[in-house]
Symmetry: C2
């Protein structure tokens, strides 16, 4: 039986913490074994003991990112429909330091993800999941009459709207990260409300063009 001293999982958790801190202030481009080791005050050999290769550590770093995203504290979901969607969006935006760090890491991972096929596919999946999380709120909003279109509106239509909502959110994230002074929490919140208000409105009866 292995000694299982000090608990292997606990150690990996320590590594996760160090990986996260390193990512937060150097980005993925600055994620090196030595940087992580220095952050937690150990040797690179120790890291290799828990992650056989750098690639394994990068993959783990992305897991940490996803876990932190999933487990982050969230504001109360006020209700179904648009109000819930609003809360969801506000939980994504960089309104507090922690959110900023998480989004910064996220954006910084895109360089790697675009260069590596597998990581790119993971990223695409993450977006698909994000849209799936948005969709129910849109459907509820339609049922509640907060959004035009009936409950039996085309599935493709809802997908597309979910993608638009996600696009707005992440596009705002990027701008806010680069220019936090121009996008303080109040502005971001106001933009979310403005965006949601535009969704609420009745559309003209016919589409402008194809």
């Amino acid at each position: 039986m292995p000694p299982a001293r000090g608990d292997r999982d606990a150690r990996r958790e320590d590594v996760s913490e160090a990986v996260w801190r390193t990512l937060a202030d150097k980005g993925f481009g600055g994620l090196t074994l030595r940087a992580v080791a220095a952050t937690m005050g150990v040797s690179t050999g120790m890291l290799m003991h828990y992650f056989p290769t750098k690639h394994a550590l990068v993959v783990h770093a992305l897991d940490v990112l996803e876990k932190r995203t999933a487990d982050r504290p969230r504001r109360d979901r006020p209700a179904e429909g648009l109000a819930a969607l609003r809360a969801t969006l506000l939980d994504i935006l960089p309104l507090a330091p922690d959110d900023t760090a998480r989004n910064r890491v996220w954006v910084s991972s895109w360089d790697l993800a675009l260069a590596d096929g597998d990581l790119g596919a993971d990223q695409a999946d993450r977006y698909a999941r994000m849209r799936s999380a948005i969709r129910p709120h849109l459907e509820a909003a339609r049922r509640l009459g907060e959004l035009p279109g009936s409950a039996d509106t085309d599935r493709a239509d809802t997908d597309q709207l979910a993608a638009t909502v996600v696009a707005f959110a992440h596009g705002l994230v990027v701008q806010a990260l680069f220019d936090p002074e121009r996008f303080p929490p109040a502005v971001q919140t106001s933009m979310v409300d403005g965006f949601l208000r535009s969704l609420t409105a009745e559309r003209p009866t016919r589409a402008p063009d194809a």
Copy 2:
């Protein structure tokens, strides 16, 4: 008087071309002096002759990106107002291979830009310019009655709407880059039209909340 043989600027243009090709298939993370040198079949010493340091070459690479963005072929501006805005947005999105390459490079530069203060400020400026390019279209659209609000609508309001439009566009860019199959040109175009249609609509008279 300096010899000014072979035209220095022409050489720098050759370097720009090689830098662009390197960026397009390796991203900013893969932008190394040796890679660029290999792409144009010269030595790294030659590169240092035209760019004293790697940082200078990175800055130049961002200039190339901006120049390529500014000089890209664009579809005809059909008119003022929303139609012009629509054309502007379609010119941003990755609808053709060239656009995809340009956007890929753009997104890949964010990792570096977030880690380096100066580059980050440049990026913020680029976004400010992008919003400034959008704003006139919004004002025209308001004058034409295509958008709610009068011509004397708050400047801050227009700024915010411009930021929302840019957010939508770049958020869609990122999703499309990672999942081109789910976001073919037709879907992207349809999303733009849907987004613009939602702007067109009359808003409810009062805001939902703060």
